[in-house]
């Protein structure tokens, strides 16, 4: 080994590196091609429901019915959210045959924040993070056996700066 000069070894390394790089590029291109055929279906998005300004209208647009409160819907949200841009919200339910979960923030410009479809075999439990414009009631909606049940909690949003 000592007899060989340094240079060829380095060239070999560079050649190896570029070969690996090319292979990775090829794989990336392949992945991009296959993913183009099987992406999420944009038509599934309920555009109307996301434009509604009130709880009743949003629920009507999304599920076509109204809801009743239930203690079997568990809404886990902070009492006070220091940062309205990231409010952790978790919803779970012990109701049977849950097919959907939705989250409404009543004081946001558009009431409906997110909706989830729960197929059979998936637990009625979801955690995610939402934006809140200001202090507002948050409503968790669970669709179970064709009916809607809700739980409501007020989340205070403290705006940073100016002693807000």
């Amino acid at each position: 080994m000592g007899l060989l000069p340094e240079a060829p070894d380095e060239t070999r390394r560079i050649i190896l590196k570029s070969a690996v790089g090319l292979a990775a590029l090829g794989l990336g291109a392949g992945a991009a091609l296959t993913s183009a055929h099987a992406t999420a279906d944009a038509k599934a998005w309920p555009q109307d429901a996301f434009k509604q300004k009130s709880e009743a209208d949003a629920l009507k647009a999304l599920y076509g019915k109204s809801a009743e409160p239930s203690d079997k819907v568990n809404l886990d949200a902070p009492e006070i959210a220091e940062n309205g841009a990231v409010v952790p919200i978790a919803i779970a339910s012990t109701l049977p045959n849950v097919t959907g979960i939705a989250i409404l923030v009543l004081e946001n410009p558009n009431t409906l924040a997110a909706a989830y479809k729960i197929p059979e075999g998936t637990e009625a439990s979801v955690a995610s993070r939402l934006k809140m414009a200001k202090t507002s009631k948050v409503v968790a909606v669970v669709e179970s056996g064709g009916k809607l049940y809700t739980a409501t909690k007020e989340v205070k949003v403290t705006v940073g700066g100016c002693g807000g």
Partner: protein, 103 residues
């Protein structure tokens, strides 16, 4: 480019817990930039999670979902080594998808 999707799916017992983070601005359309111009809405609309040819979870998201959205859910079935496919599409028609292995 690295994938916009990070997903961790862990099988335990007869169910699989999935946690996912997607890198996305989720612009609401109500925020102004430094020049006072409204930043137009740009947010993910639909996210689908697919296991063994079946969609196990669908997210329908409005602009009120936080930047770089996070979601956690659990589904029955799934075992170590299985594929879990995640795909999203946003209101500008951009999309991404990823196949992750259940751990």
């Amino acid at each position: 480019m690295a994938s916009t999707i990070r997903v961790r799916a862990i099988a335990s017992g007869d169910s699989t817990q999935v946690q996912s983070l997607i890198s996305h601005p989720m612009d609401s359309g109500f925020v102004k930039d430094s020049k006072g111009q409204l930043i137009p809405p740009h947010h993910i609309e639909v996210v689908e999670f697919e296991h063994a040819g079946k969609i196990v979870f669908t997210c329908l998201w409005g602009p009120a979902v936080s930047k770089d959205p996070y979601v956690k859910f659990t589904f029955k079935g799934g075992k170590k080594g299985d594929d879990l496919k995640v795909s999203w599409v946003d209101n500008k028609g951009q999309s991404d998808s990823l196949v992750a292995k259940i751990q």
